[in-house]
């Protein structure tokens, strides 16, 4: 399917339909997830604040999904020199950063009632997401600071792949660091296994967030393709 979408014209036609569909799907899934989430009983430890989990955890999931997408798009851009893949990679980065920031803020909000502090280093997922945020910011900064678009694309795709390779190692290192000092992650409601009444809305929210990411990513990639066409036309007009 990816090979079929590689054709820019086919991609534009596909995304024109797919983006709104995914957006509707996102609203539906997230709506259902939120409704079920509020219908679920409060956690015996955390009370009502456990519901922030439904906003925080999917955001963390999608932030990692976004980096994976960035990495895959960068891989295709590097190996096949495909301009559409590069446009997709460039489009994914700010989105990923936004979801990551959302995860960090909601994580902090969730932790405040529990720990009495706005941030702790004891939660492996939060720390991993923080590093992920810095990876996104670094990627965007690198792209923005190289003037030549082709060279910016080449450098950025190498950086994205390095980040992708490092990400599991970073996650492992932070997890391992935590097991040395504390127990398991404390940002879990109801213990290591999640009760169904929480799990179902969480998965729905996760799917909804993923659909939202998909819709926004397609939309931003389209915008990037148009922007490049506009730049190209402007240059041709100027040099003609």
């Amino acid at each position: 399917m990816i090979a079929a979408l590689a054709n820019p014209l086919r991609f534009m036609a596909f995304s024109r339909l797919a983006a709104p569909i995914l957006a509707v799907l996102a609203v539906g899934l997230a709506g259902a997830g939120l409704w079920l989430g509020f219908a679920a009983p409060p956690d015996y430890q955390q009370g009502e604040t456990v519901r922030i989990m439904f906003v925080h955890v999917p955001a963390a999931w999608v932030s990692m999904l976004a980096y994976a997408c960035l990495g895959v798009a960068s891989f295709f851009s590097l190996v096949f020199r495909h301009a559409l893949a590069d446009a997709a990679a460039k489009a994914a980065a700010p989105l990923g950063a936004a979801f990551t920031l959302l995860a960090l803020i909601t994580g902090s909000l969730w932790g405040r009632p529990m720990w009495g502090a706005w941030w702790v280093w004891g939660d492996a997922r939060l720390v991993s997401v923080l590093v992920l945020f810095l990876l996104f910011v670094g990627y965007m900064a690198l792209r923005a600071s190289i003037d030549d678009e082709g060279k910016a694309a080449r450098a950025a795709e190498i950086l994205a792949l390095i980040g992708l390779i490092n990400l599991p190692i970073i996650k492992f290192s932070v997890d391992w660091w935590n097991t040395l000092h504390q127990g398991e992650s404390i940002l879990r409601a109801g213990g290591p296994t999640l009760a169904n009444v929480y799990l179902v809305p969480l998965l729905l929210m996760g799917a909804g967030y993923a659909a939202a990411f998909g819709a926004l990513w397609l939309a931003r990639t389209r915008a990037e393709v148009w922007r490049r066409r506009a730049v190209s036309l402007a240059l041709q007009a100027a040099l003609a």
Partner: protein, 206 residues
């Protein structure tokens, strides 16, 4: 020296960003020949040289290196049989002239004696122990050209070699270039001003 008999540029086109620098260029440079690339600033002379050197991938066409037995692998030709002198000097300012000459010559396969002899021919002997940054532009240019003499390679790719040189320097380098051609060498040179020798001119531009 007889390992390369010439190079050929076949239907070469180069893009820089959105711009196509020139359409399809084709020419050959055989043993003992010098081709001067002429054209306005920004026309693509440097890019063409760098494409021949292998740094820029052309958007169309290719560069061919020929030997007595047929075509030679481009990568091998560039690494072993080409000297590239860009219009920057490639010199580290903090090091001494002697150190830089020794490095450049040994890096391209020569030895220290050849380096010193070449430096002498280019009139640099009394500057050997100065830091590179203390040299004038013309002296630095002559320093960059040392490896041409010290290490024998067939193809010379030169980007405006004479520009910072004074009259005596130009005559010296022209002499060196003529000697190279007489020995069957190949020179592809980008210039603004006419070369002080007879050369075939190829205009670079859209």
């Amino acid at each position: 020296m007889a390992l390369i008999t010439g190079l050929a540029v076949e239907s070469l086109a180069i893009r820089r960003g959105e711009r196509e620098l020139f359409g399809e260029m084709s020419f050959t440079v055989g043993a003992g020949e010098v081709v001067a690339l002429t054209g306005a600033n920004g026309a693509g002379k440097t890019s063409l040289l760098r494409a021949v050197a292998g740094f820029i991938a052309p958007s169309a066409g290719r560069v061919r290196f020929d030997g007595p037995g047929g075509q030679i692998d481009a990568d091998e030709a560039r690494r072993d049989h080409c000297h590239l002198i860009g219009h920057q000097d490639g010199l580290a300012g903090a090091r001494t002239v002697r150190d830089e000459i020794n490095f450049a010559v040994r890096w391209t396969g020569g030895d220290e004696d050849g380096a010193l002899a070449a430096a002498d021919r280019l009139g640099l002997t009394r500057m050997l122990d100065l830091a590179v940054r203390r040299l004038s532009a013309g002296q630095r240019r002559r320093l960059a050209l040392v490896r041409l003499i010290a290490v024998a390679r067939t193809i010379w790719l030169l980007d405006e070699p004479l520009t910072p040189l004074d009259g005596a320097g130009r005559a010296l380098v022209a002499n060196v270039m003529s000697g190279h051609l007489a020995g069957g060498g190949v020179i592809l040179v980008a210039v603004h001003d006419p070369l002080p020798m007879t050369a075939r001119c190829v205009a670079v531009g859209p």
